[in-house]
Symmetry: C3
Subunit: 341 residues, 3 copies
Amino acid sequence: MKASELARALGGTLEGEDVELVACGGLEEARPGDLSFCKDPKHVRLVETTRASAVLLPPEWDKGAPCSVIRVADPNHACMAAARIFAPPDPVRVPGVHPTAVVDPSVKLGANVHVGAFTVIEKGAVVGDNAVIEAQVFIGEGCTVGEGSHIYPQVTLREGTKLGRCVILHCGVRLGGDGYGYNTTFENGLPKIEKIPQLGNVELGDFVEIGSNTTIDRARIGRTYIGPHTKIDNLVQIGHNVKVAGYSGIIAQAGVAGSSQIGSGCLIWAQAGISGHIKIADGVQVGPQAGVPQSLDGSVKYVIGSPAESMKDFGGRVLLPKMLAKTRAEVKAIREQLAAK
Amino acid sequence: MKASELARALGGTLEGEDVELVACGGLEEARPGDLSFCKDPKHVRLVETTRASAVLLPPEWDKGAPCSVIRVADPNHACMAAARIFAPPDPVRVPGVHPTAVVDPSVKLGANVHVGAFTVIEKGAVVGDNAVIEAQVFIGEGCTVGEGSHIYPQVTLREGTKLGRCVILHCGVRLGGDGYGYNTTFENGLPKIEKIPQLGNVELGDFVEIGSNTTIDRARIGRTYIGPHTKIDNLVQIGHNVKVAGYSGIIAQAGVAGSSQIGSGCLIWAQAGISGHIKIADGVQVGPQAGVPQSLDGSVKYVIGSPAESMKDFGGRVLLPKMLAKTRAEVKAIREQLAAK
Amino acid sequence: MKASELARALGGTLEGEDVELVACGGLEEARPGDLSFCKDPKHVRLVETTRASAVLLPPEWDKGAPCSVIRVADPNHACMAAARIFAPPDPVRVPGVHPTAVVDPSVKLGANVHVGAFTVIEKGAVVGDNAVIEAQVFIGEGCTVGEGSHIYPQVTLREGTKLGRCVILHCGVRLGGDGYGYNTTFENGLPKIEKIPQLGNVELGDFVEIGSNTTIDRARIGRTYIGPHTKIDNLVQIGHNVKVAGYSGIIAQAGVAGSSQIGSGCLIWAQAGISGHIKIADGVQVGPQAGVPQSLDGSVKYVIGSPAESMKDFGGRVLLPKMLAKTRAEVKAIREQLAAK
């Protein structure tokens, strides 16, 4: 798209050559053909060295640029708008069942449902109106997919999984796998490991979104439950019987062990681990790589470290080497003072 | 199911309204329609506030309940029995090959084998009697699936993988991917990275169970081996040439780097990491998020922290800030004492 | 294969019984039928106790062996050669499209491309010459697969993903999933969470290899980019808008949060975490389980710990308990000295 055409679409003014633009990109990573953006004069060096073919700049910018400029009131906002223009339209998922899909005759499909190639939907499942179930998905017996939900390719829902409305599941999500549970006994000194039946299911509230390759195990009894509007990132592990209240976030590679409860509005950062059978109070944040061995009652709003502690305690721990060095110097001085007497 | 009917099935007595029950659930998360349970009077508050429609209580319970009660000798045991009654029957996997499956003519299928829709089984594979291979599975050339094994949807076994009897593989398990191995050389100062051929395979002993989206890489030469009765949770990484002896457990998101050996009866807790080329002695437990940089000879039975240490050393480390604060106070007192002289 | 035949193939000499050999294996894990190898006399105990049926030994070895011996100049090298001989040939992927594959008529397939069973390739995708796309793969609209690339079963490429030449993607890799991004606002005290459109894509340079079940999210705008010759292990998470320069390595279960930049020739070890919006300079190594909260300028070449620090600082921290104990003993001695006066 010509820069002049884009400038018009964004309500801005083109200065310089009417270059061809194909995509958006940050100042540092932009390539020729890219449109970049800058709002803050403190990033002038990045503007000077960008390889972008054009840059969105605010009216007050007076530091020039090594490429074409599109003047706009709000460069950040304009760049998002441009990104929408450059982005190819989302793939269209026409309502209907792909002829290769294997859908049990007992399955109830709502209006305008899309079912992609090689998808399997088993006995008794129910799919709400306007749901999109892409290619190569597996939906087990008796599952429920709420209206407007979108299931990307190669997701598996084991039997009995229930999704609310407008749920989004990204590629490779695994819902309803057996929880990890065994009874070990000893007979004549030899261990005997028996699998504990995992008789419950997984339920997701409305507007839940789950990232690629995340796994959520079915309950031993009852339900593993993720509340409405909770957003889970990629490669997260949720153990059996976990309950996450609504409006929480769980970032990539974090794990929540069996039967633990996460409150409402919590944020569990990347690679954090929550032990089993504990409770995290509403609104608590667990920092990246933190390990939480026991319940958090909300008296501390942000914990970090393993075992997790307050930011103040954690900061103190980080400062320990300096504090100890200072103390050792003092002790040395005292010893010398005493020796000199 | 009516509470009265369930009480009869469990050998208990109904007190209160003959409500309709649909599922089991813990006291806190139960919903109307749920049956919950309580054994211990110390949880009386949870009973008082439960939303369950009925609760299983022991004969000696004299604290009442806000809902119907089913009296039974052992509430925990009765709840498991009730969960079995509520649970829909497991999906039936009728012996036979789904007409859409692509099974090479050279494949040897045992008696009563189930092969699901869109599953691919390549040349020379052998599948034992009564094995269940669900939909959308990929089984590469020359693989062996032992009798009675159960492979859930969307598992991949790369060529040459061998499963013992009664192995369970949950959705998204990846066995036999190439191990991570490269030779880097420099030519005229430029790096040249060559892939090291990964010529071995993966072998799993009898009764091994592997959780969703776990990955186990094929050996560079020889075998990556998981011994009998070892149970691995979700999202675990097992590097090439690792050996895990029998009867061990590896919990979610833990990782074992290449060529390491885990003994028998070990337990590697969630998010722990085991370095490459080391040995963990029989019966050792590695705590959650621990990092083990060198071999553990079994003289310490439980390690924790990164780098991993004994519980005593770890506890000491956790107490360091307090101990240092005390020492600093003492030093301050000494200085003041000396200054006053 | 007979040991005598193998000895000939390896240019070595057989000593002892002409046993049948079926595979290679390390001294400790070898089974009857295996060929093992030893170069260094310090491992004589492992040779004495191996269960291998034959062992490759160097000419100067004079300590005997409990099995047949094949004398060769370089046992390690000979064992790799033997492993190649034992390994079944790689599965042949004949050029052509499997009749079950669903390939949109608009897709451009290069010469000698293999497309496996149940694979879906959507509108406008382009696949280069000699590419192998195995069974059950999903390739979304407008994707590009470079020539000579190899995509193993059950990989998903969301729309717009671009792969360079000779890229290898192992089973379960997820490219182009939506990045984790939401705007939270409050209306009348209630949170409202809106999904931020993820309008960019994922691009991989030439010779990139990605391990099983690794996830790389599409950019919010622009591109998430992995440079040429970068090798990523299993179960790694790469957030949206991350840039990894060429010739770097990222080991299993590590994670890189959104918009961060990893330099050239970096090595991110297993389970490490890199925060969002930071830069790791060329050639820096981040140790296993390390957590990097801020940019690393390359003045320290290896960091470890969480928060990450130099090996010296980390070692000092590990030694803290000992140093504090020593300091406390000194303070105690001073107090006693003062009390005695």
